[in-house]
């Protein structure tokens, strides 16, 4: 599964995208797996990953990830 990061989260992690090999049942489970990688990931996610999209659609942590191609995490949006 492709995982993307944007804005302050991308900058804090120093990572734009990665291929995540570990299966995750839900968006929330994937979030926990990513955060468990290191204290840096834990901190960056706590501060800058309030929103997420599953296959380009804004989604809550309860969203199932079966057959999903792309997940993105990012801070609250600030356009306009």
């Amino acid at each position: 599964m492709k995982v993307l990061f944007f804005a302050a989260l991308k900058e804090q992690l120093g990572v734009e995208q990665l291929d995540w090999p570990t299966p995750a049942a839900t968006l929330g489970e994937l979030r926990q797996q990513l955060m468990a990688q290191s204290p840096e990931w834990q901190q960056a996610f706590s501060r800058y990953a309030q929103m997420a999209a599953v296959d380009q659609s804004l989604s809550p942590d309860s969203t199932p990830l079966a057959d999903v191609q792309e997940v993105a995490f990012f801070p609250r949006v600030t356009g306009g």
């Binding site: 380009q56 600030t78 306009g80």
Partner: protein, 144 residues
């Protein structure tokens, strides 16, 4: 129609698209958001999610068109670096009467600020830069 563009907005050309020379529509409402000087601001930089941002803008326009009877809806947003005083976003709506156009224009701006993947970074005169934090008031407005 929606557009996400790096080039400056041509407001005259956008306004011309809302004209109603044969009187088909009685109301046109536009909103233009500009880079404001909150103190020492030199420019903004807009990050976006290429595979999603335009798609989400199209969905937003479709939602407005379902909710109100509208003739034309134009939603244009800039990405990349935008200098102080330059327009960032422009919304134009036409309808038979003003109530629909006013309501749809306000809805589009409120929803854009809380649901479209766009992020502002502020660049200051002294070389510093920082990501803009989302305002709670914007989320509340979008709920309405």
């Amino acid at each position: 129609m929606i557009a996400l563009q790096r080039e400056p907005l041509d407001l005259n050309a956008l306004n011309a698209q809302l004209e109603s020379p044969n009187g088909e529509t009685g109301a046109a409402v536009t909103f233009c958001g500009t880079v404001r000087d909150d103190g020492q601001v030199i420019a903004l930089e807009l990050d976006h999610y290429p595979a999603m941002t335009e798609l989400a803008m199209q969905q937003l326009v479709a939602e407005a068109e379902q909710r109100w009877t509208l003739a034309k809806v134009l939603l244009i947003h800039r990405v990349g670096r935008i200098e102080l005083g330059q327009p960032i976003v422009w919304v134009g709506v036409t309808s038979a009467h003003r109530a629909e156009a006013f309501a749809a224009c306000e809805f589009l701006m409120d929803a854009l600020k809380s649901r479209i993947p766009l992020w502002k970074k502020v660049h200051y005169h002294d070389g510093r830069s920082e990501w803009v934090e989302a305002k709670g008031s914007d989320a509340q407005r979008a709920e309405r």
